[in-house]
């Protein structure tokens, strides 16, 4: 294994790490940066628990080699939470809506669900229920609470519009 220096932007901050480029972004985030919000489910791109944004697009971090994120913008669930904190709230309105809609049961799929729908709302602030379902079609919830998740995202869309929420450091390009 040949380690390389990999510099990228993580949740709005420039970071640099010396690592095996064949390490997955998921393990890089969890083991090097101690960002444990991103979950490992299947580890093979089939469950979406590890979803993060790379340059504003939802991807399975378990499938992304660390070498690929050099020079790119990576955004995780911790970045979403920080947006809420910066606004004086406890969490982001999307996370708030998940909690209030009962969209969190065991919680393991939740960070991935939030990231997929966060990407959706950045691109499309007024999604239809079908568009929400499409956006979470790569995220499995084994508690099977999809309906509440859909409701949470639609509710969050309303709130974000009402609050004129700006995504200031969302990693969107």
């Amino acid at each position: 294994m040949k380690e390389q220096v990999i510099a990228f932007e993580l949740n709005g901050e420039k970071v640099e790490t010396y690592t095996d480029p064949a390490l997955s972004l998921l393990h890089l985030l969890r083991s090097r940066f101690n960002l444990l919000g991103t979950k490992e489910g299947c580890g093979r791109g089939e469950c979406g628990a590890c979803t993060v944004l790379v340059d504003g697009r939802a991807v399975n971090s378990c499938l992304v080699p660390a070498g690929k994120v050099r020079g790119r913008k990576v955004y995780t669930i911790e970045g979403v939470t920080a947006e809420g904190l910066l606004r004086g709230a406890k969490v982001h309105p999307l996370q708030e809506a998940f909690v209030e809609s009962g969209a969190v049961q065991c919680g393991f799929c939740t960070p991935g669900m939030v990231m997929s729908t966060y990407a959706l709302l950045n691109d499309n602030p007024s999604p239809s229920p079908e568009e929400v379902r499409e956006a979470i079609s790569g995220n499995l919830c084994r508690c099977s609470g999809y309906k509440q998740i859909e409701e949470a995202v639609l509710e969050a869309a309303q709130r974000l519009k009402a609050q004129d929420w700006q995504d200031r450091n969302s990693g969107k390009t």
Binding site: M1, K2, Q4, D20, P21, A22, S24, G43, R44, G45, E46, G48, T51, R57, A58, V59, N60, C62, L63, V64, P65, A66, G67, K68, R70, G71, S116, E134, A135, S137, G138, N139, L140
Partner: protein
Amino acid sequence: MSYTVVSNLDQAVEALAKSEGKARVVAGATDLFLGNLPPELVDISTVPDLLGINRDPDYLSVGAGVTHARAAASPEIRLKAEALAEACREVGSPQVRNMGTLGGNVVNAAPAADAAVALVALGAKAVLVDLNGVYREAAVEDLYANYNLSVVDSSSEILLRFLLGPTVRGEGSAFLRFAPRGALSLPLVNAAARVRLKGNTIEAVRAVIAPVSPAPTRLSETEKLLLGSKPAQDTWRRVEYTAAAEVDVRGSMLRCSAEYRHHLIGVLARRMIRKALERALESKEGGDGR
């Protein structure tokens, strides 16, 4: 392992040449961790030459590095290569479509890769370049050596783009798949067709089905049945019967029994050809310049 992200084609060729056969080209990398890791990787996903979607009078050129998400959303592809847009919408999940590329879909050589099936139905040609700078073109269906094995040697050749004749007035294409679930699901059968009408007569047809062999496979008997015919009520039962009878399929634990696959092939063949024909008719009647 070394991982080099190159920013242009010269760098890619140079990196491959320097590694003397040890390095492999990678783009979306969505299947990278599912197999054995090669010792060196050359990431070509940001090479500008591979990212274009361009139209000239004769061809629609789609870069091999175009992601499924981009292809599915491209107005040019949706209008001129509808089957490809439909296929790209069905690949994996949104996360996979955001990373996975059309070139990878073909060179990875999975026997039921959605985009590859549509590309073959559309008659797409692949443009490749080797380390000596020699270009070649090949039909997409000729790029398969065996199951999950491409003719393209990704240590010494780079797939650059696909060229496809855009559908013209009187032409239509369609893609369909049947899978146990609506997303994140391997297809039991996928199918794509392209047809051209002259009056009410089928003047050209390409009907493709997978997975029945290493490459997306043309239904040549079904095509013969349709070519020169005017589709009528009794056509569809014959299409279903002919398509199901002309391919040899096995049952598999991964997908389904051979009997069920035969049934699905007949049904999907009928549906995709009807859908392509409907679109061909619409394009004749519509004034949208197709």
